[in-house]
Symmetry: C2
Subunit: 236 residues, 2 copies
Amino acid sequence: MAARQAAQGGRQDELVIWMRPEQASVGRPAERSRAEITAAAVELADREGLDAVSMRRVAAALGTGAASLYRYVATRDDLLDLMTDSTAAEYELAAPTGDWHADLLAVAAQARRIMLRHPWLPALVVTRPTLGPQGVDLLEHVLDALADHPASAARKLEAFAMLNAVTAQFVQHEVSTTDAASLRQAVYLQHVAAAGHHPRIAALMTSPGVPDEAAPPSADDHFRAVAGRVLTGVLS
Amino acid sequence: MAARQAAQGGRQDELVIWMRPEQASVGRPAERSRAEITAAAVELADREGLDAVSMRRVAAALGTGAASLYRYVATRDDLLDLMTDSTAAEYELAAPTGDWHADLLAVAAQARRIMLRHPWLPALVVTRPTLGPQGVDLLEHVLDALADHPASAARKLEAFAMLNAVTAQFVQHEVSTTDAASLRQAVYLQHVAAAGHHPRIAALMTSPGVPDEAAPPSADDHFRAVAGRVLTGVLS
DNA sequence: TACCTTTCGCGTACAGTGTTCGCGAACGAC
DNA sequence: GTCGTTCGCGAACACTGTACGCGAAAGGTA
């Protein structure tokens, strides 16, 4: 009973958060849960953006102190991972139909909707792709839909990753077309076009907005078209 | 001469940084330049990662104080935009050959190399896609290579964006396969596979690493294959 | 009931961050 | 030399993520 670890009980920091027990079975019971904290963080991010998700503000939203959160989460990045995975629970996964292309397109369409609900998601998905319990369920579903597809396992994983990347990029572009930074960017492009060099870009600016047809497609249709093309490209 | 703006001389913050004059023509001449500051920031990011790029540390690398940087840059985000655009100067753009597919693939291959040189680039490209003077040159080159392609202008822009997104994601995955977070993730996936549910994922883990052939392709060949597939997908 | 053990809540503190203010110094033009 | 203007930058402010350590609270056991 002499050589003991510190009070924290030998916390295994080198394990992903979903492998660390949520709380101990002995001692004083916890007043909160990871799910509760995650929900508060998600709501805060939905309302005020990812930068607003600071430990202090999340704690305040729960009516507690910042240091308390560290009983549930080792670091802020852990909390971000929890947020990402929690959104994967919003998928409604029906059984595969046998048409893998349609099934994956349905998944992608849901991904887009979820990302539109949580505009902070694309940045997280792209910069720290993490698979938690819910994300793993999603991946299993995708692999299930691709069960009869002749591609290699690596190729299927690649398709999953690329579809995610493309969806995230698409949504980010879709969401940011009206914010201040994008307007500044547009002004600059006009400036470049007017300067005379870059004739191709100049031609771009004078052409109509989305001139595929007389009637521009809805954003949903447009996304389905893009995702479908990427899909057929990656999965021969 | 009564109603005048503040001392800063009516700085137009609502303009993108490349439209703001670098320095005034009257008064004391500046001791540094945006290019110098950007180079220091890039070098710092290459060496210690994007989080190390703080105003204080960049200033210290230049032997000056943090507040001085604000004479050249309105905000840290401006500096990040400058860094992004500065990497676009590393492309070596040859004249289009007439084979648009090969030309775009060459651009993508260079993009990958540049991102490998600057591991912080993918995150920036994806989360704050910005076109500065160098980025505009690159876009012009891409549009030039696609001049004879029958797709609409919007479709070509989309191809450019998707190629960038896919390249960034690919490089990020390529770079992060050995870092601590990825190892944790792998351990968790093993855990999930061992738990019994998720049989498809379990099958994934037991299959060989990249089993397309007996000899796994080089990373460069692999990337060319992926980018090529996405390209043919997006540009019919 | 009285301990004893273990965990929980969280005030406080520390090192760092982006950014603003305002002043002295330095320069070009006249 | 003097004026107008800009530059460099120390100091300060409002934050941030996180570590420490203490008091309180809840079992389990005697």
